[in-house]
């Protein structure tokens, strides 16, 4: 078959490159993730049960420590400035659960797709690749909002925790937690694809947070060096700020330093997440990782 040698003009497809198209692509990633999430029904039980039974162990332990007549409570109030030890523990353990779940779900989201085979399909499209992480994380965030909401209801009803304080301020604290937690999640997602292994990373981080961030105790009780480490973990500020606002009735001025720290961490971790993703993408292009499993 003879082949004509003429100048080649690229033949266009139906793809467009304008900004609305990119927004639509981002929205499509989000709706796809959310639709698929809804179709696995087991999450309902998980969201209802775990908020309660995980803190329960610590709460009952604290109850034992307080003593039948509350004689241990005096020491607690002196150490923390807060009377409601159940609320104190609940805030800490819930933050721990929140970041634990995010790290796991966002962290394995890309690897999951790789194992199923759809990661490659996504990578073949002209869509901006970071939007895949953004979209599935947005879906995960909705799940977490439900989780937090249900936790709040369950603690108020079952444990009689009284959350005082300004709800708008509490909302602000939660909003400022999001960039750090999800930035870490993005970082994990990229590392997990590269290492093909998730558990080690997640266990490490959740162990570190458990030890240093004061989930059931005031950070001030830690030895000096541990307090230093705690100061470098955004979860420490999340827990402290939430406690101050919801249990201590603090106002904006009182939590401002913590919020500033959270904002700083947020920017840092989002940047790290974005940069590590780019690194992973370039590396994957060299090694052809995307299509493997």
């Amino acid at each position: 078959m003879a082949v004509q040698l003429e100048p080649y003009a690229p033949v266009p497809s139906l793809a467009r490159d304008d900004f609305p198209a990119k927004l639509r692509a981002q929205w499509a990633v989000f709706t796809r993730a959310w639709t698929i999430f809804r179709r696995y029904p087991t999450w309902v039980a998980a969201v209802l049960i775990w908020p309660v039974i995980f803190p329960a162990v610590y709460i009952l332990g604290a109850r034992a420590l307080a003593g039948p007549d509350g004689r241990g409570l005096a020491a607690f109030v002196q150490a923390t400035g807060i009377q409601d030890y159940i609320g104190y523990i609940v805030v800490g353990t819930t933050v721990w659960m929140w970041q634990n779940i995010v790290l796991w779900e966002v962290g394995t989201s890309l690897r999951e797709e790789q194992l199923r085979g759809t990661l490659e399909s996504n990578w073949l499209t002209p869509t901006w690749r970071f939007s895949f992480l953004l979209g599935s994380s947005a879906s995960q965030l909705i799940e977490m909002i439900l989780f937090l909401g249900i936790s709040y209801i369950e603690f108020s009803l079952l444990f009689g925790v009284q959350f005082q304080g300004n709800p708008l301020l509490a909302l602000l604290v939660i909003l400022l937690c999001i960039p750090s937690i999800y930035g870490m999640g993005f970082t994990f997602a990229s590392l997990v694809i590269t290492a093909k292994e998730a558990s080690a990373f997640v266990f490490l981080v959740r162990g570190v947070v458990m030890i240093f961030c004061g989930i059931t105790f005031p950070v001030l009780l830690l030895p000096e060096w541990m307090q230093l480490v705690a100061g470098w973990l955004p979860q420490t500020y999340m827990i402290e700020a939430m406690r101050m606002v919801t249990l201590g009735g603090a106002d904006l001025r009182a939590v401002a330093p913590d919020l500033a720290a959270l904002a700083g961490f947020g920017v840092f971790w989002l940047a790290v997440g974005f940069l590590v993703f780019g690194w992973m993408d370039r590396r994957a292009r060299q090694a052809g990782t995307i299509g493997q499993y």
């Binding site: 162990v57 009952l60 332990g61 059931t216």
Partner: protein, 279 residues
Amino acid sequence: METTPTFLSYLYALLAIARGDWRRYWRYPLNAVAQVFQPVIWLTPVFFMGQAFSANGAAEGFAAYTGTTDYMSFILIGTALNNFITAVFWGMGYALKNDMDTGVLESNWLAPIPRPLLLVGKTLSSLLLTAITSASMLVVAGLLFGFRTSGSALAAAAAAIPMLIGLYGFGFAFAALVLVLREANSLVDVSSFLVMLFSGANFPVTVLPRWLLPIALIMPLTYGFDVVRGFLLKTRTLLPIPQEIGLLVFFMFLMVALGLWVFRILERRVRVKGTLGQH
């Protein structure tokens, strides 16, 4: 070659299983490290929480409930015992599920060993491994948090034995359930957490709300923990120690009989339905 099975040959078979499991475990030594340090990590927030409730290093509130101010030793004993419970309780069910998943269940099932004995064999090496990792954990935790016992360790261990044997009974029943349901994980996660919660591994059961306490009191595990702590820490026990030991011995016979019975029934059902090879 026809050979009639003797007690000795059964024993050799069990040892062979145990040796295989042992070797497989040590191929991933990081697992052992994780099993020693994971509990230590989980105990750290408990330790500092206790500090928050303590004045001058003594948890007076805790002492009012239990008879000792040493909450960490209390919890460490609970954690170590819980490891054994996990190994026996769920170990057989998991081993079964594993065999199902790797496809060897049918061939194992055809071996001329009484099936309950086969299941027991699967727990032998994990019992030894648990003893090693728990002891190591106690050493590490003891260094970090302090672990002091005042009573006789031997007496405590002897008292724990009927509890463990009784647990085998439950283990058989659970293993039978796994055979029928062909599923282990979802059932186990929440159940094991709840069992740990109600048996007093991490706190005296007397702090449970009034309406939940009966659940704890009908579980033999609760008395197991209580007796061991009674011996090692001289804590106030729910019932006098001789009575609790009596209860444990009674439960031991009951659970083993019950467990074997459930196992025989469900196992026969599986044979009739022919679902052994599926997963």
